[in-house]
């Protein structure tokens, strides 16, 4: 009952004019970054992160989350109409979505993608609502040693599942953790790695680093691409799917909602993995698997539903444990921290309006996106015609002002520039930035809890292997291994190799 009352309170926040306005703006910007190839949800969120500083924390988080799931919606548009995935989770949609568009069936593909996204998103929000509060209660009872184990586990899983070299991913995690040590040591108050600079005693600005490593480096990489984009333009009257389309998509949407929700728990790349698993499952269960790759509507419905179903699940570790499972939620942690709200198990008791306001806004955001995406698809497609170079100054100016306005420090602009260039070079040589960012967010708490646990145990490392720690570790590890095994069994890896040509 108390949960229901909190939800009503959340709706009161989300349905206020500010809540609606910023949810709409977040969804709109999210769709735009999802549509524009190269600008994913992460860059979209980091670039607008500074704009939330002047807002109420709940409203700021509503806007940032809107960008996250808005980008998931928007990514399908370019996948279907241009065969360019707006972001990584839409790669699979390209396969059958574009084939449908080529056959003059872009409208139904877009409609089914939007409907699937809506259903997947809604299912995951319901799951979030029921799972996060009891999980948070359990987490309050556990000590720093278990938190260390959980954080190390999250980083370990990211190393295992991230694309590319595991050694490079591990190096990026270590670098992120090392960068988080810059500034005053929280336990002793000693300045570290500051080279005597008073401006660094507060630590490296997360906003500057995140915008540099993700936003700026992505812009620089996109500047190298010179291809002109030709998009298929669907008409509004063609959007309505046929009865047979709905009949074929409905089971795929149902299955993908569950797949996305379950796989959302894997740290690092859950939104991408879930789309491949869903595609593989649909292909395996289909009566006509030979149609996959040639414009099967279930090949659009499944992955698009799955990548949106992940958004709610990804919020569970963030809101209940204070641990980001994907980079987008790391940005949300940073935003909450800047606003003085500590994410984690105490969030539900200390700031219930933030949790329930966010849950309610996600329901509303899904409706906004459904309304926004279908009639306005023509406008979003026309965005692809704007030369990229014209968008760059505006994006960069907003980023620079935003970064400066956090601490009113020119040093932060320098940090953004340098991290942008470093991020660009590292990405060119196959280093992933997502693990670095996740480690950067976790580093502070990981070290603090590690040293606290050792102090409390009188220097005994056995504290990390006590009964509770081992039970939690083993349960989570078994769950993750089972999911990984399931993904491989249904042919995730084979699908990746078949459809993208990468391993």
């Amino acid at each position: 009952m108390a949960g229901f009352e909190h939800l009503i309170g959340g709706f009161a926040v989300a349905l206020s004019w500010k809540g609606l306005l910023y949810c709409f703006l977040g969804c709109l910007w999210g769709t735009v970054v999802g549509v524009l190839p190269g600008l994913g949800p992460l860059a979209g969120m980091t670039l607008l992160l500074p704009l939330t500083f002047g807002l109420d924390p709940t409203i700021g988080i509503i806007m940032l989350t809107g960008i996250f799931y808005g980008a998931m919606y928007g990514g399908s548009t370019t996948s279907i109409l241009v065969r360019i995935p707006g972001e990584a989770a839409s790669v699979v949609t390209c396969i059958d979505g574009y084939e449908m568009a080529r056959k003059g069936r872009a409208g139904p593909a877009l409609m089914i993608a939007a409907l699937g996204s809506f259903v997947g998103g809604t299912v995951s929000i319901i799951g979030l609502m029921f799972i996060a509060p009891p999980l948070a209660k359990v987490m309050i009872a556990i000590g720093p040693s278990v938190q260390v184990v959980l954080m190390l586990l999250a980083l370990g899983v990211i190393t295992a599942v991230c694309a590319g070299s595991r050694l490079k991913t591990a190096t990026m995690i270590a670098l992120g953790l090392a960068l988080s040590t810059v500034g005053l040591d929280k336990l002793t108050g000693v300045p570290r790695m500051t080279l005597g600079s008073p401006e660094l005693t507060g630590g490296l600005s997360f906003t500057a680093l995140a915008i540099g490593l993700f936003g700026l480096s992505e812009i620089l990489i996109n500047l190298e691409k010179t291809e002109t984009i030709k998009a298929i333009q669907p008409k509004l009257k063609d959007l309505v799917p046929r009865w047979i389309d709905l009949r074929e998509s409905a089971p795929a949407i149902g299955r993908a909602s569950i797949i996305g929700f379950i796989f959302g728990i894997i740290p690092g790349v859950s939104h991408v993995v879930s789309t491949f698993v869903s595609y593989a499952v649909e292909k395996r269960l289909s009566k006509h698997p030979e149609e996959f790759g040639k414009g099967a509507i279930a090949g659009v419905a499944g992955p698009e539903t799955a990548n949106n179903a992940v958004t709610g699940t990804a919020m569970i570790p963030l809101l209940a444990l204070g641990i980001p499972s994907i980079p987008a939620t790391a940005i949300l942690i940073s935003a909450l921290t800047i606003h003085g709200v500590q994410p984690g198990p105490l969030l539900l008791t200390d700031h219930p309006e933030v949790f329930w306001g966010l849950v309610a806004s996600m329901y509303i955001g899904n409706v906004i996106l459904l309304i926004l995406n279908l009639p306005l698809v023509g406008i979003f497609v026309n965005l692809l015609r704007i030369p990229y170079a014209w968008l760059i100054p505006m994006i960069l100016i907003v980023s620079i002002i935003g970064v400066y306005s956090v601490n009113f420090s020119n040093t932060d602009i320098w940090i953004m520039m340098i991290s942008g260039v470093v991020g660009y070079v590292l990405r060119k040589f196959g280093y992933e930035m997502a693990p670095l960012l996740l480690a950067l967010v976790l580093g502070d708490r990981l070290e603090e809890n590690f040293r606290l646990a050792l102090t409390m145990s009188g220097g005994s490392y056995a504290v990390f292997a006590d009964r509770i720690s081992v039970t939690v570790l083993m349960s989570v590890l078994c769950l993750l291994l089972a999911l990984q095994a399931l993904a491989w069994t249904v042919g995730y890896r084979k699908s990746v190799v078949d459809e993208t040509g990468t391993s």
Binding site: L51, F53, G54, S165, L167, K168, A170, T171, A174, L175, L177, A178, T181, D185, L187, T188, V190, R192, M193, L195, I219, L220, L223, E224, T226, P387, A389, W390, I392, P393, M394, L396, I397, V398, I400, I401, Y404, S405, F408, N410, I413, W414, M417, G420, V421, Y424, V425, L426, K428, F429, Y431, E447, F450, R451, L454, T455, G458, G459, S460, Y461
Partner: protein, 197 residues
């Protein structure tokens, strides 16, 4: 040699087809000091972007990473390391620095073993222009004021990368900055440096 022969033959022909074939031949050479064609305009441009083999570039990047690791380890050694049972403020950074050095060395060894066939292009003209313009911003941001320095930055990007005329770029930059001023200054109350005036 065949590729170079193709290059000379097609370049001498002077036709558009010949120029494109020249470009393709250049791409095949992966050479550094050969003029290239701009992919958009088809005109000859400078030697940029430069192509680095994964080995050379990879080694350079691992060198940078190892240097970063060494920095963290060196700084950690100036702090109290503590003991294994009671770690001091330098303990974790020292471990991380050592790990980064070790992993960078392993990546470096992998790079050395890998073939030269994979290449990475660095130094694209538009990227270099953007980086240069960006690096100029913090130098003048507080001296000239935020809005003037950002207007100069926007104009430079629009002219050099957007390839629009100065007469159109200046009003566009002013309009954009006016929108920023309205949003940040009036709406959010963010006070940015105004410069000496």
């Amino acid at each position: 040699m065949t590729v170079l022969h193709d290059l000379v033959r097609h370049h001498d022909s002077g036709s558009q087809d010949g120029m494109l074939a020249t470009h393709q031949a250049v791409m095949r050479t992966n050479a550094w000091h050969v003029p290239r064609l701009d992919q958009q305009t088809g005109r000859s441009c400078t030697v940029l972007p430069r192509v680095f083999s994964n080995r050379t570039g990879g080694m350079f990047v691992t060198g940078l990473l190892a240097a970063a690791g060494a920095f963290f380890a060196w700084q950690a050694l100036t702090l109290d390391i503590g003991g294994i049972a009671s770690p001091g403020p330098g303990f974790v950074p020292l471990l991380l620095g050592a790990f980064i050095i070790l992993s960078a060395a392993l990546i470096g060894i992998n790079c050395c073993r890998s073939g030269e066939h994979e290449a990475v292009e660095l130094g694209h003209r538009d990227v270099l222009v953007t980086i240069t313009a960006l690096l100029g911003v913090p130098l003048i941001f507080e001296r000239l004021g935020a809005y003037i320095s950002l207007a100069l930055f926007a104009t430079a990007i629009l002219v050099l990368i957007g390839r629009i005329s100065l007469l159109r770029a200046i009003p566009a930059a002013i309009l954009g900055l006016a929108a920023c001023w309205w949003f940040f200054h009036l709406l959010l109350g963010v006070q940015l440096p105004v410069g000496p005036w």
